[in-house]
Amino acid sequence: MTHISVTVDGTAYEDDVEPRLLLVHYLRDRLGLTGTPIGCDTSNCGACTVELDGASVKSCTVLAVQADGCEVTTVQGLARDGEWTPLQRAFHERHALQCGYCTPGMIMAARDLLRENPRPSSDEVRKALEGNLCRCTGYQNIVRAVLAVAEETSASERQSAQGQSAQEVTA
């Protein structure tokens, strides 16, 4: 057994775990955070994607001991006081999910993309999601949802930039 301390979705945990315990099993079976599902055993499907210290990882391909001292964010840690994040809203509004099994991983992967590239093209979105498989949607509405968030963000940035330059003019 190896002792680990991990912060998951803002809560600190201390546990003794077998070194072979997969992070995703730690989340699901030990912490009861079942919002992150498992879809494969070869790190192809991406259903289990979470953030480890702010970068997307496949939690089925990370040992819990490797997460020692790290911060993990899962889909369950995104909404604040019941308020969904823009990606969650966009997935809902663009019908970017059907059975919903890939959705947590898809949202985490899309977050990662938008952090690194806030204005992706449609092709860039598709490329960034290549490690997350969905069997229901044909991906089209997922791509639309991610693009919608990117547009929203840049529109609001434009607005605030305009506001700022207006202020500069008056000043």
Partner: protein
């Protein structure tokens, strides 16, 4: 309340009620189920395609830490019968035993031989390695034609044959005489590769026993909680009324969860034996062996036609790979296709023959489309070949043969009555959206230029039969159950509504669509409606979700049940308003007396009155509920035209989809957003069959494409943007005018894509590329066509 016009719910792109928990990680997948004292199961599976079990000793597993028990098939044989096949397609079908744990022989790689019960999943996985098994290898049976040859090794030696059944259909004139008078005969062989369904949620089952009263609650990743309950009670002897089956959130199925699986039966048997709760979750690579596959056919198709391209007759010979056992509807899958080979075309003769063949591979069964994609593929590929043969554009050859819109209802050569459709309208719309003529012009220009990257254009004008199914038709097809669906509606005292449906959604959005249907009939707000499903206690009656049946059969049941509620409410309202029923109007949830609109009662008020039952008509039962069991009068027949443009790099053989346009006619649309989503997903799976996916076996019968790294499920980066549109010809056979949509995209798209690939290469002398059209197969096809042409030239 005012009498303002209420916008109907049906037809609106309502956002889904289902989404909230799915996007926040609060969904309830079967693997999430945890109860006190839960034990975990792991299955030991055969590493060989075919072998005799010489020795099997599970006792060493018991020595491993955390292990509670380990069982062989013999240990559980008492109270664990053969897994069921509900579709004996012929009277003399060969039906082998299918023990949930293999007893003497294993018949496919992955056939389970033992089960371990341990305190956690890690301990269970470890203990499998301690089990001792000696296998005596037997010859694998892999080739469908060789399997039928005299003296071939047998999958089931006691049956004396690998032939499961022969199922013929002959309609219209005698095919041979029609063939005699044909100018053109096109004969082709197509191979339907095996596919692995790959629902994103792997299978899982959990059973919680209440030992004292002999009651069991099963959670399963199933599409069919109701059928599963019946079948498991037969298999295990647990009385049906003591078994509750719950399908919690289910992460996709595509037919793969339309099954009664051995693991479900074993989990129930172990829970009964130990009196303790158990759970099993498959890993993806385990599922590739243990969850049924789809397709797997050799199709010989022959068209007889005039030189003008008019079809005279059609002959189809199928060899269908059953795999090692006949599972729930394994034998019936190709038979569902039997009626679809004639597709949308008129002809004088049809001859069909299907032989089911046992092999030492994972059993096949329903996979999105189930028989109809195979049929549509063969006929739509062959129609292109006919077009090439008689020198017509592929769209034109279809036009010359299809049923014209004024000919509906039309009884096809296969005996189906298509109630409605308009192939001309859908095709014209699709051609315009696609820019067909411009693309053809570009194709000619590039062809003349000798472009190494060739443009190909593929068309598929499909229809399909779905909305399974009229019970009497199912009787005639020798299916063991009916095809009805149940719905009941309860208006609660506070005016809220519970809709109980027998369908069992796993991504299709029934909760949203059923709310829209009920809202319009009842005049109750969409938000005030809850839909209960997927639990044999909450929704005791139903025939579940598969075959694009839920809306057509189950949605119609909801509609009818809601009408019954209104009928009863009308009686109560008339009583309360002291008016005759005929004098009442019902609009927007309000009953009012014609001519005196101030005399009114809302349906919610009526619901409360029936709840108190203080003042209802004499003899009327309390509360405002109704139930409807809907047995459909016909299948539904969605149709449409799909067009695909591909760029084929003849140097590497790589195919890239450049554009994809489809115009589908799924009748009246309840929720256009959901319909579009169904089409997108269907396209992705159909394209995947055309270009990417194949369950590959080696000569020993091992699954080579055994993990998700080897079996190529396409990602967003591998699929194009789709252009989807619709025509709307209401179905005449159900009150909503709806047709199924779940499988249409899959059925239509595969031939559209392969037709495009072949179209790109036809001027080079290529007439076919085997699916999936891998770069190597395309390269090889071009190479051998060129070699053939050279040979011809030198001869």
């Amino acid at each position: 309340m005012t009498d303002q016009a209420v916008e109907p719910e049906v037809g609106r792109a309502r956002l889904r009620k289902e989404d909230a928990r799915l996007i926040t990680g609060q969904s309830n997948w079967t693997d999430n189920i945890s109860v006190t004292g839960l034990l975990h199961l792991a299955f030991l599976r055969s590493p060989m395609a075919h072998a005799r079990i010489e020795r099997l000793d599970v006792s060493p597993a018991l020595e491993r830490p955390g292990v509670i028990a380990a069982f062989t098939g013999r240990d559980l044989a008492d109270g664990l019968g053969s897994l069921p096949c509900a579709w004996p397609v012929t009277e003399d079908m060969v039906l082998p035993d299918h023990p949930p744990l293999a007893l003497d022989e294993v018949r496919h790689a992955g056939d389970p031989v033992a089960v371990v019960v341990a305190r956690d999943r890690y301990a269970a996985a470890d203990a499998l390695e301690a089990i001792e098994v000696d296998y005596e290898p037997l010859p694998p049976v892999l080739d469908l034609e060789e399997a039928l040859a005299e003296g071939a090794p047998l999958v089931h030696a006691d049956k004396g044959t690998n032939r499961a059944y022969v199922w013929p259909l002959r309609t219209g004139e005698d095919y041979e005489s029609v063939r005699q008078r044909a100018d053109v005969v096109v004969r082709r062989r197509y191979l339907q590769q095996r596919l692995i369904p790959n629902a994103m949620e792997p299978r899982a089952v959990a059973v919680a026993p209440l030992a004292a009263s002999g009651e069991y609650t099963m959670y399963s990743t199933t599409q069919i909680p109701h059928i599963l309950r019946i079948m498991l009670s037969v298999v295990t002897g647990v009385p049906e009324h003591k078994l509750r089956v719950i399908a919690p959130d289910v992460g996709g199925g595509f037919g793969s969860k339309l099954q009664v699986y051995g693991e479900e039966a074993v989990a129930l048997a172990v829970a009964r034996k130990l009196g303790r709760p158990v759970k099993w979750t498959e890993s993806r690579s385990e599922g590739y062996l243990a969850t049924h596959h789809g397709r797997g056919m050799i199709q010989d198709i022959e068209l007889a036609a005039t030189r003008e391209g008019r079809l005279l007759g059609l002959k189809v010979d199928l060899l269908a790979d059953m795999g090692a056992y006949l599972m729930l509807v394994t034998p019936g899958i190709p038979i569902l296709g039997a009626f679809m080979y004639p597709a949308i075309y008129k002809m004088d003769a049809y001859e069909f023959n299907c032989t089911g063949v046992f092999t030492t591979r994972t059993p096949t069964d329903a996979y999105r489309g189930a028989g109809r994609p195979e049929a549509t593929y063969a006929i739509e590929r062959a129609m292109d070949e006919l077009a090439a043969e008689v020198g017509l554009d592929p769209v034109e050859v279809r036009r010359r043969n299809w049923i014209r819109h004024e000919e509906f209802p039309y009884t096809t050569i296969a005996g189906l009555t298509y109630d409605s459709g308009n192939y001309e309208a859908a095709t014209d719309k699709a051609l315009a959206l696609f820019g067909y003529d411009d693309l053809r012009a570009e194709q000619r220009e590039r062809d003349e230029r000798g472009d190494a990257v060739r443009l190909g254009i593929g068309v598929s004008t499909y229809t399909e039969m779905c909305g399974l199914a009229p019970s009497r038709v199912l009787r005639d097809l020798r299916y063991s159950a009916g095809g009805w669906e149940a719905a009941s509606i309860r208006m609660l005292p506070t005016g809220k509504v519970e809709v109980v449906t027998g369908t069992s959604p796993h991504g299709q959005g029934h909760v949203t669509s059923w709310s829209q249907i009920a809202s319009d009939v009842l005049g109750v707000p969409f938000e005030d409606i809850e839909v209960l499903h997927g639990d044999t206690q909450a929704a005791p009656q139903g025939m579940d979700t598969y075959g694009s049946r839920s809306l057509v059969v189950g949605g119609s049941a909801v509609h009818r049940a809601a009408e019954k509620v209104v009928e009863k409410a009308r009686k109560v309202a008339a009583h309360l308003l002291e008016a005759s029923e005929d004098d009442l109007e019902f609009k927007g949830g309000v009953f009012s007396v014609k001519g005196s609109p101030e005399a009114r009662r809302t349906i919610q008020e009526v619901a409360f009155e029936t709840f108190t039952s203080h003042d209802v008509p004499d003899g009327m039962e309390p509360t405002l509920n109704a139930e409807h069991l809907n047995d459909p009068e016909n299948f539904s027949y969605p149709h449409g035209t799909h067009l695909c443009a591909v760029e084929v790099d003849t140097e590497t053989g790589q195919t890239r989809i450049r554009s994809y346009v489809c115009v589908d006619d799924v009748g009246r649309v309840i929720n256009p957003m959901i319909v579009e989503g169904q089409v997108h997903g269907g396209l992705a799976q159909g394209i995947a069959q055309a270009l990417y996916e194949e369950a590959v076996y080696d000569a020993e019968g091992n699954l080579v494409s055994g993990t998700m790294a080897d079996y190529l499920v396409p990602s967003a980066a591998d699929l194009p943007e789709f252009v989807t549109d619709r025509t709307e010809t209401p179905a005449a056979s159900n009150p909503l005018g709806v047709k199924g949509v779940g499988e249409a995209g899959t059925i239509a798209s595969t031939p559209a894509v392969v037709n495009a690939v072949v179209d790109a290469l036809r001027p080079l002398g290529v007439h076919d590329v085997r699916m999936p059209c891998t770069p190597e197969r395309v390269w090889e096809a071009v190479r051998s066509a060129q070699a053939g042409q050279k040979k011809e030239a030198s001869a």
